[in-house]
Symmetry: D2
Subunit: 150 residues, 4 copies
């Protein structure tokens, strides 16, 4: 797959994205970490514990969904101007197999940046780089908005 | 909207669905509660706290997604035979407006049950029954499988 | 289902929407007709012929998809300002049962209008008003853009 | 992207898939052709004419959707047993840019085959191999069913 190189709109994009990520209470609470921040590309990780699971011991779809959504926001956020923010409009997520295992890795790739709408593809893998298996794929639509906040 | 009445396949469906719900660690951890269990229809609720929010104080999309997914599972689960289980194949979720507020209510409705595939529609509202506002809509595809577990 | 009443942004919205519909070559070619145009609500119809079918005689998913997409555009278009246009960003469509029959009816409802993004829900029924059956449900995201054209 | 190699379940899969494709009236009517049939991978093409367009001269989203759906069916169909058939359960399609141009090329890849459910990713490009541009991406869920028909 050829990957288009994207030009960031702010020289400070990595710090801005990391700053939002680390101030998001639900993400801090779950333990999702931002591992890589490039222009149009992010990686996050999660060390799975018992609280992240469903009744049969699999990782709960809501955990994977949260990771997908948050990673999509970070990924789209690398390509917006300073003072802008991204909001999830909608996403579709596919669960390809039951997710057993101790760790999740999530990759986000911008497939179409835009001034008002950005599209990101998400892949979620279990169990690290050596023997990882794709468990979910998502397509995310995000709106680029002027940041309004304190 | 006319609602088709569905016939449950097990007389004990409400207890079975409630039992799975209450043994799901991630749902217990988040505080999502099962309020109503009818054949092809479920309602869940969440009292939102600070940990459920994103960086601007809105309810995190991952919380809403988790609620949608879990409620869809419960809803589809009301129409399967005893000894069967449902797994989320995929879902699409739309975020219609930023979700401020202190409580979420989520309704699931089966729109097409099936022996192997079930489809559920989800509506998520903020702030209770009196003045509630629709914040999310989802469509969920679930697979009906033979339960394998301890 | 309570239906919110929407205010059209142009007094001439019905004529504008009908005009676009009737100048769309692929829709004219397939024979899809615009039956009803209200603010935030449209109905279209199709008299199905052999060319609209797949190999087993069912109506082709592509025909239903085309009808869903076009109806969503008309529906969202009823709520935009004159001089604006809508473009489909993405949609999800569910096929609930194989579509046999001689006619399709498609309803579009705006569930969230917006200055830049509009969301429309679509229901597709077979065989007319008397004994019609839901065959598809879709959720459509549309972008509202300044019209550029001749 | 590493591509998993899939084992076809029937030695005759290419002929079976081609046979269904060429007996599908709506696809023949539109002029969509099956170019490549491998195990878990198909390519289709369309020479675009005026009838395939919308009011501004772009290729209609319904044409792209039909191509995506049909290609997904062919792609999933390469991995099912003889006597089985695939039906589209649902799909999500993203339109990344307005599709100008004279020809479409559509690629389908199985990302998760299954005995009862198959998942296919679709990429649609305009204007051929030399300078082609991605215009749409879709994720398709298909059910594998026993073929019933003449």
């Amino acid at each position: 797959m050829t990957t288009t190189k994207f030009e960031p709109q702010s020289p400070d994009y990595a710090r801005l994205v990391r700053n939002v990520f680390e101030r998001t209470p639900f993400i801090v609470d779950l333990g999702i970490r931002l591992e890589t921040v490039d222009a149009g590309y992010c990686v996050t990780s999660l060390a799975v514990t018992d609280r992240h699971r469903q009744q049969n011991g699999f990782i709960h779809a809501g955990v994977i969904s949260t990771m997908a959504d948050q990673t999509a926001g970070a990924t789209a956020g690398t390509l917006v101007k300073e003072g802008c923010n991204v909001l999830t409009v909608e996403y579709t997520i596919h669960f390809l197999r039951a997710a057993r295992g101790e760790s999740l890795r999530c990759e986000g790739r911008v497939i179409k940046p835009g001034k008002s709408i950005s599209r990101v593809e998400i892949s979620v893998y279990i169990n690290g780089a050596d023997e990882e298996t794709l468990v979910s794929r998502a397509m995310v639509t995000l709106a680029v908005v002027q940041y309004v906040g304190s």
